[in-house]
Amino acid sequence: MGVLRVRDRPRRRDARASGAALLIIGALAACAPGGDARPADAAALAELPWDSVVARARGTEVVWRMWRGDPAVNRYVDEWVAPRVAERYGIRLRAVEGQGAELVNALVVEREARARGGADLTWINGETFHNLRREDLLQGPWAHVLPSAALVDSASNIVMRDSEQELHGFESPWGRVHFALIYDSLRTPQPPRTVDALGRWIDEHPGRFTHDQSFAGITFLKVLMYATAGGVERFEGGFEEDAYVAGRDSVLAWIEEHEDRFWRAGRVYPFGVAELHRLFANGEVDFSMSNNQNEAVTKARQGVLPASARPLILRDGTIANAHYVGIPFNAPNPAGAMLVADLLLSPEAQLEKLRAEVWGDGTVLDLDRLSAEWRGRFAEVEGHPGTVPQDTLSRYARPEVAPEYHERLQQDWRERIRGGG
């Protein structure tokens, strides 16, 4: 027995050591800066007078999770927005990486871990908004109480419906863009201006056209879907299986008809739009594309694209959409986030980011609600050489349809065209 006892002791100690190790693992798993001490959420703040929201947000820090892939956007946020919220409200704005699907995944894991939120504000739209709402990961409603919300173009379907989803005050409009092809006005002085003409151009110039696999590329497929399957009207009013199947078959048939004259005979597609820009700039293909019609000009200014790069709006119609900011369900500082969102909607902030030399991002404001002085300033900026005139954009703008169209088209394109579903 004595021998047994002596042998048992280390076992118990080992068991305690293992228990301690498990506790450490548990602690790591929980990552547990407790999630229960929640501040008033944005919906509750929206019930308070605006001055009260301002008072709560003064001197705080706001973490903004956003796409940080464009130096021009980063510069605008870090060097224009951040100093102004610091000056006006004493808010320290810190922009960090995190967008789209990654953002949804991160918030799901934070919820599972009951972790305090890592961000107060997020940059979202379309499928991301759809998934965040589906998973109940956004606070709201709050966007309608922002003082600058009164200036938003509330008559616009493109601004007030995010891929056919009602905003319901869960996200605040920030910018508006149009999908555009990008061509080199020296290399291709007479670019094709319709989907049919583009098809003929591809056939006559084998190896000089492709699209990317990511967001811009799938938007291009949706432009083709509208153009080849009866217009956007056929797909409006929510996702409908029969309309989708007809649209999908139509766009994939168009691709299959021309694919062997694509770059590398359609056997490979650039991973993202940055790779497509590189192929275009290096002369491997004659077109790039972007979800922002002004990217031709802004990227040319950055030296990424040739100075002769120009946006091309297809006459069959091109997808216009808006992007927004939202407040995650676990944001530690929703009051600060609301103040930043309000500043982003102010005429001066909207005008600044509209400048091609800054970002070239379209405004979500209704210019008729602004003073004559502000309207004049906007008109001056919109007339920048190389940018597409506003009336052209308005004439050919087509809204996004339900996010399921994007999801299904992406999946079916991967399976039937690209391979590697």
Partner: protein, 288 residues
Amino acid sequence: MTSRRGRLGIAAAAILTAPVVVGVGYAVAGALGLVGPGASGRPSLDRTFLVLSESAVIEGTLWILWVAAASTLLAGVASMGIAVALRGTGRLDGLGRALAVLPLPVPHLVAAVAGLLVLGQSGFFARLAFQAGLIDGPSGMPALVYDPLGIGLIVALVWKEIPFLSLVAFSVLGTRGDALERTARGLGASGRDVLFRVTLPILWRGMLPAAVAVFTFVAGSYEAAVILAPSDPLPLPLLTWERFVDAGLDRRGDAYVLALLGLWIAALAVVAHEVVRAKLPSLEGAHQ
């Protein structure tokens, strides 16, 4: 003392492995549909069977295994050659050894971008060929990046892994080569016999753990593949990421299955290494 050391060892090992254990546990739960984006909350193996039977997954896995095997083998052979050629004590040998390991700190991402800038159809070689009148434009250049065989990716990885494997090879030869080689020569072995029956076996056996590390790293790495790999087949690491950020929330759970598949590949490589090592006769014992 021993038991205290043992307990400390267990605690240290637990701390080191905790992130892996937690990660694997979470991935298993995600693959079963219990946690993560789009999780149903009801445990099921359906997703696992469905994903593992997809041709895209099978092809993407085989493709990255091919790239990992080819790049490890080529880098390993080149490193052995470099180690044998530069094993002398002269100044030039020392300089050669230093130059051979010089690219060691270069990140894989930088190596991949360099591969793109050199081997791409508008890259350095293409521009040289154009200037020399050998091709009349980018499409005239053979496709060495985004290519189905992964030539560009393999070249970039071989360039990146040679310094690491060379460093290991120098160390193996420096610590274990001389005595056995002297013994073999003393027993009358020719220079050729010493090279093929003593030096190279010492080298490849000593480099085997490092080669396994390189193989598993390449099989699971994303950053070089995303720059240089084709879109069909899509390599397993890219497919894993693509599913993790799929626009459709319901497909994101596929990524947990694929991440576990990648982990299995790495674990199998380590197990295979242990089995091979256990079966190899000791070189030291062979001549005693």
